[in-house]
Symmetry: C3
Subunit: 328 residues, 3 copies
Amino acid sequence: MTQEEEKVRATHIPFGDQRDAPFYGRDIVSVRQFTDDDLTYIFDVAHEMQQMVARIGAFDLLKGKLLANLFYEPSTRTSSSFTAAMERLGGSVIPINEVTYSSVSKGESLPDTVRSLEAYADVIVLRHPEKGATALAAQYTKKPIINAGDGVGEHPTQALLDLFTILEELGEVDGLTVTMVGDLKYGRTVHSLARLLSRYDVTLNYVSPDILRMPESIVAEIENGGTPQIVHTNLDDVIADSDVVYVTRVQKERFENPADYDAVSGAYVITPETMKVAKDRMALLHPLPRVNEISIDVDDDPRAAYFRQMEYGMYVRMALLALVLGKA
Amino acid sequence: MTQEEEKVRATHIPFGDQRDAPFYGRDIVSVRQFTDDDLTYIFDVAHEMQQMVARIGAFDLLKGKLLANLFYEPSTRTSSSFTAAMERLGGSVIPINEVTYSSVSKGESLPDTVRSLEAYADVIVLRHPEKGATALAAQYTKKPIINAGDGVGEHPTQALLDLFTILEELGEVDGLTVTMVGDLKYGRTVHSLARLLSRYDVTLNYVSPDILRMPESIVAEIENGGTPQIVHTNLDDVIADSDVVYVTRVQKERFENPADYDAVSGAYVITPETMKVAKDRMALLHPLPRVNEISIDVDDDPRAAYFRQMEYGMYVRMALLALVLGKA
Amino acid sequence: MTQEEEKVRATHIPFGDQRDAPFYGRDIVSVRQFTDDDLTYIFDVAHEMQQMVARIGAFDLLKGKLLANLFYEPSTRTSSSFTAAMERLGGSVIPINEVTYSSVSKGESLPDTVRSLEAYADVIVLRHPEKGATALAAQYTKKPIINAGDGVGEHPTQALLDLFTILEELGEVDGLTVTMVGDLKYGRTVHSLARLLSRYDVTLNYVSPDILRMPESIVAEIENGGTPQIVHTNLDDVIADSDVVYVTRVQKERFENPADYDAVSGAYVITPETMKVAKDRMALLHPLPRVNEISIDVDDDPRAAYFRQMEYGMYVRMALLALVLGKA
C-alpha cells in the first residue's frame, strides 16, 4: 500500500447506515462528553465533509432524514448553519422558529414538545434560553438531540467549530499560544473553547478589562490540568507571540460607568496596525456577529479567519448530524 | 396465492400518478364529505404510509410536488406535521407563516392569496381563524386545498387522525365504548370525533362539568343515527368500562367563578391511580398540548397513546397529500 | 432537419454546468445591466422553464444548490416565488425572514451578514428597505446575489416578469400600445417597466391623477430614446387602443385631502364595463396585491392576466437562478 493509498484509507469514511458507529443515536449536550478520540473522529469527518462540498457541493447522505430545528430564541446564524448542513447532506428541515418560551402553566412543557416532535423528525436541534434545557429534553426523546445553545450553559457546536477552525487554519493545536481578547467573563464561547483547548499542549493568554476577566472557577479548572494561563490587560504585550487571537465583543452595558467603557474599549479593537505586529502565520477568530471590535479594514487580511470560521461551522454540523444518524 | 401474498396484495398501493383515483384533485374541507368507504381507503393508505416509514423512513412519492403551507394563525404542531408529511414523501414546502389576517380594505383577500399561490404550489394547506374559510378558498383555486382548521368550524385532519389512532391502537372501532372527558362544549376536536364515531357501532360517554357539556345540537344529531350517548359528571363511573378515553383540557377561563373551576378541575385529571381502574387493553388519547389534565406519571403507561397519536397524524396527512395529488 | 426539429433545437437549453455561460456567477442588481440580447436569452430560458413545469412539474437542475432567501422586510409573495422557483429546480432554501433591520451600532452590518451567508449558500436573494443595498452587498460576496427589491430603488425580477408576461400573453412586444394606470409617481414597478419597454418599439400611455403622474425624470429619460409617451387623466380615452393595461393601486394616503381621493379613485377602477370597450386581444396586468382597483368580476375574463403574471414570475426566477448558477 502506497503512502497515498494509506492516506486515502485513513481519511476515507464509508457512507452507509452504521448502527454500530460510535455516535449513532447519541445526544450532543456538552463539550465535556467527548473523549480526545471523539474530537479527532469528529474533526476527521468534518474535514471529509469540507472536501466533499468542495468537490460536489452537496450529496444525498441524509436523504429522507428530517431535522426539527427547534429554536426557543432567535439565532439566525446558528439556525441557518444547521439548515444548510442538513440540506447539503440531502436531508430536510422542519423549521420551528416561532416557539414562545412560556411557563408550564400557560403552554406546553419542553418534554412534551420534544416527545411530540420525535414523532415527525429523525434528529432534533434545540436552542433554549435555560441552562440544562438540552440535557432535560434528551431524557424524554429516543431520537438524538443536539444542543444549539442553552442560555448561560453550553453551545458545544460553537466550541467544536472554533477548535476545528484552528486545526484547519494552522494544521495542529499542540504547541500553540492562544490569546483570548475582550469580554472573557460573560462570553460562553471563550469558556467552552478554553476548556477544550486545555486538553491540548497550549498556552492561554487572557486579555480583558479587569471587570471582564475569565471567571476564577474556569481558571482553576484549567490550572488543575496544567495548562499555562497568563492574564494581561494589554493586547500589545502578547499579539506578537500569539498563534491564535480569539476576539469577543466588549459590551458597553457591562460597565456601570460609561466612562470606564470608553477608557478601555479601544484597547481591544483589532486594526491593520495590530495585525502588522502579529505573526505572519496566525489566525484571527471571532464568533460573530462583530460590531467594531475588529476593523473592517482587516477583513481581507489572509489571517482574518472569522468568515471562514462560519464555513467550518457548517462542516462540523454536517459531521455531527451524519454521526448521530449513523451515516458517517 | 398464499395468505401472506393475499395480505400483501390487499394492502399494496401501487405508486404512480392515478388521475382516475377517487381523491385526485379533491379538497379536504369537512369530515362530512367522506363516505364510509372513503374513510376505510384513507386509513388503508395511512397504514401503508406507516409501514413505509418504518421500513425506509422516507420515499420519493411526491418528489417535485410543492405544498404551500398557508397559516393565518400560528399552529406549530399542525404546521410541522404537514411539513414532515410532505418532506417524508420527498416533496417540498413553501412555508407561509407570517400572514397577518387583515380586512379586505387593508390587505389582500383570501381568494386573491389562494389564486396567487396556486401559481406556485401543487397543493395548499390552509389554517384560518374564520369558519368556512377553506370552503370559500376552495372555490377560487383549481389546486386541491386541505383544511387545517378554520376557527370554530372544522379541523378534519385532526378528527381523522383521532379515529386512525383508535383503529391502530385497538384494531377496530365497532363495539368500542369511547369516553370523552373535559371541555366538551368548546372542544372542536371532540365534536368532529363524536360525529365520525357515530358512523360506527360505538357507545359514547360524555364526562364533563355541567357548564361544559356536549352541545345539544351535536347530541341530537348523533341521537338521530341511533348511537347510544350517556352523560356523566364523574369519570370514576365509566373508566373501568372504557376502551378509549379521550381527554381535553378544562380551561379556567371558561368559568365565571374561579372557585367553580377549582371545585371540578381535579375530577378530570388522569393519574396512575385512574389508570389502575382502566382496562388492560384500552387507549388514552389527547389532542395535545396537554397541561396538567394528564399527569406526566402516566406517560410511560403503554396505554398512553397521545404521543403516538402525533405520529399517526403524520401518516394520515401523508395519505391525504398523496391522495389529493393522485399518487396513492 | 424539419422546421419542427429546428424549432426544438433553437429553444433547447442543454442542462449542465456551464461555467462559461454568460450569466454564470453574475449578480442581478438592476434592469439597466441587461443588453437586449440578455433579455431575449432570459426570456427564452424562462419559456423553457414554463414548458418543463407543464410537462414534468419539477426537475433536478439545481439539486444540491442552496439559496439563502434573505428578507429584511416581509414580502410573502416575492419570498414564496423565489422559494417555489428554487424548489421546482430541485434546490433547497435557507429562509431568513426574521432579520430585523438594525443600525450598525446595534446589529450586524449587511456586508457581514452577506459574507457569513456565502459560507452556507450558493446564491443569495436579498430584499432590503434601503436603495442600493444589493449593489453594496454584491461587493462583499463572491456568490451571485439577486435583488428582490431595495426600497425605492429597483425590483428587477418584477420588471422582468412584467415584460415576460406581455411577451407570453401577446407573443411580441414591438408594435404594442401599453397603458399604465393609477399611481405612476410612487410605483416602483411602473418605473422599471417603462424603462424596459422603451427598448422596444412601443407607445406608452400614462393615465393617472395629476398628483400621481409619472416623474419628469423618467419621462425625460424615455423621451431621449424616442419612445412616444402620452399623458391622460381619463382611462376611457385610451382603453380601446391599448394592447396592455397595467394597473396599479391609488392609495388614499397619497392625497392630502380625502375628498380629492374620492373624486378620482373611481375613474381608475377596471370593471366588466371597462373591459367591454377593450380590444378582444389584450392583456390586463397588475403587480398584486390588488384591493379594489380591478373588480373581482373581471377575474374570469380571459384577458385578465394578473394571476398568470404570478406564474410567469416563477418561471423568470427559475431562469435567473439557473443562469447565475451556470446551469442553463
